[in-house]
């Protein structure tokens, strides 16, 4: 385990309580820069709640969260995005009535002048450069031909890729992907795995929630397993796969 100071995301003692239920219970997590870190666990293990707490969508009952050396525990979601977090959503939440390109342009909102002054021409150079970058991101994910199509009319697998493109557009230091391959065909999954590995080569750090073990084993540098809100195992993919507690958690809940 690298020293805590090196982690780009550091969570200590995260507890999220919904009424009487502890969705996440005393979880510690450290994500190292330029790695792909997967969070796995059976349904209801608290994975998405963990994501929501990191991105500011859920207020934790107790926790301290540091990101890139600064504490972000109580910041609102838009401020976290400005600090360099970006996420996708379980079940895809694109702006369905907008075009593919417009969705990606919104991903750049926090880092390009976007206020009233910009409407009157302030920061025009930066704006145009960013538009070029948005087109390049679409290109890198094979979406160029769809840039002017309305996002909500496209197939689910394509929508997931658009969502990743939108998250990449903010040039985040940490990209959180919530079940990016859910509902995809085997071929689509393999293609997306390549793209996720490509993210690491381009020096993104990725925190990934995934159900498909083949995807997890194929892309992850490190795997954290949750069950009933608690962390039950953490380590390299091959170690976690053979960990009896992980096997029990999966077999015990899915049979």
């Amino acid at each position: 385990m690298p020293a805590a100071a090196e982690a780009i995301l550091q969570i200590t003692g995260l507890t999220v309580r919904f009424g009487g239920v502890k969705a996440v219970d005393q979880v510690d997590l450290a994500v190292s820069p330029h790695t792909i870190h997967a969070v796995i666990g059976p349904n209801g293990a608290g994975k998405t709640t963990l994501f929501n707490a990191v991105t500011g969508f859920v207020a934790p009952t107790a926790a301290r969260v540091w990101f890139a050396g600064r504490e972000i525990t109580r910041l609102p979601p838009e401020t976290r995005t400005r600090r360099g977090l970006a996420r996708t959503f379980q079940g895809v939440r694109l702006f369905r009535e907008m075009t593919v390109l417009e969705n990606v342009l919104l991903g750049q909102h926090a880092r390009v002048p976007s206020g009233v002054a910009a409407a009157f021409g302030y920061g025009r150079g930066r704006d145009l450069r960013a538009r070029g970058e948005a087109v390049a991101i679409l290109e890198s994910l094979g979406l160029t031909s769809l840039r002017d199509r309305v996002a909500g009319t496209l197939p689910l697998g394509v929508q997931r890729r658009i969502e990743i493109a939108r998250a990449m557009a903010s040039q985040p230091q940490l990209l959180l992907l919530d079940e990016p391959t859910a509902g995809m065909s085997a071929g689509e999954k393999m293609a997306l795995c390549d793209q996720i590995r490509g993210l690491r080569e381009r020096h993104f750090t990725v925190l990934l929630i995934e159900h498909d073990m083949r995807v997890v084993m194929g892309v992850s540098d490190r795997v954290t397993t949750l069950n009933f809100g608690r962390k039950i195992a953490e380590g390299a993919p091959e170690d976690v796969r053979n960990d009896p507690r992980v096997i029990e958690a999966y077999l015990g809940s899915e049979e």
Binding site: F95, R96, S114, L156
Partner: protein
């Protein structure tokens, strides 16, 4: 004094300003029933300035817009935490407060109001309309307009994009109130007199109808809505008693045929291949 046609042109312009004033808020998916209150603030401010302080008309109208804008920001603050029906109720409460305030404001004539204001001419009104339209055109093609659409479509995700929704909502209330205030000042100096009842509930509801009738996906919608629904009664006036019937029937007809409003912004290209038909499977029973 303005002749009949100029009078209609003035009213169309003033109503377009009101519709745009409400559109700033509606384009974020918010609703306000209190915008006539900002109009009252602008009308009274401008009128007091021209009557009591002998200001020229244009600075007085601009000052009315500025004071209304401050009121808009103040009303916008508590409104930040409210949604939909709660926001409608709160803004309606603000409207009632302004009405009571001006009814008891003796310096401004109390219940009987103020009279003697004059000077509003069509070119002045339409200069303001042109300036407002230019503003909305610039915003609509900029990232700010995209952010407005994002907040309206899915506010939590817009925040995840880094959109500062708090700031956008405050801005929307303030700019909308400025436009309402300018419309109020212009109306006061067209009508010759104002009284608190002029800015009551019906004045609050009309812009809502114009905006919904015209559509909220582009600023051309509110402009068209206000223009059509202001001119229509003039055109069908000879029908006397039937005029309200026709007014109402055309509202209902548009809402049935085009529920998104008269003018809808087309986005994107239509699918050229077959994959447009492959809509993502939604959860069973998730039809909304």
């Amino acid at each position: 004094m303005a002749g009949y046609f100029e009078s209609v042109a003035i009213l169309v312009g003033i109503n377009i300003l009101q519709a745009l004033g409400l559109f700033t808020v509606k384009s974020l998916g918010q609703i306000s029933l209190g915008h006539a209150g900002f109009m009252a603030v602008g009308a009274y401010t401008a009128s007091l300035l021209t009557l009591r302080a002998q200001w020229p008309l244009v600075p007085a109208v601009l000052a009315g817009g500025a004071v209304a804008g401050v009121a808009g920001a103040l009303v916008g603050l508590p409104a930040l935490r409210l949604e939909k029906l709660y926001l409608a109720t709160m803004t309606l409460a603000f409207l009632l407060i302004t009405e009571v305030f001006f009814s008891n404001f003796d310096y401004a004539g109390g219940l009987s109001g103020l009279s003697g204001m004059a000077g509003t001419r069509a070119p002045l009104v339409w200069a303001f309309v042109a300036a407002a339209a230019l503003y909305f055109w610039l915003v609509g093609r900029a990232r700010l307009g995209l952010a407005h659409d994002a907040v309206r479509q899915d506010e939590p995700v817009a925040r995840a994009m880094g959109v500062d929704t708090t700031r956008l909502k405050l801005q929307a209330f303030a700019t909308g109130a400025v436009l309402m205030g300018i419309a109020g000042g212009l109306l006061a100096h067209h009508l010759f007199y104002i009284e608190p009842g002029l800015f009551g509930f019906s004045a609050a509801v009309l812009p809502v109808i114009w905006v919904i009738f015209g559509g909220i996906t582009t600023f051309w919608g509110p402009i068209a809505g206000a223009a059509v629904l202001t001119i229509l009664p003039e055109v069908v006036q000879p029908l006397k008693d039937w005029y309200l019937f026709i007014y109402a029937a055309s509202l209902v007809a548009v809402m049935i045929v085009r529920p998104q409003g008269l003018i809808v912004r087309r986005r994107g290209t239509s699918p050229s291949g077959g994959d447009g038909a492959l809509r993502p499977a939604e959860a069973p029973g998730a039809a909304r």
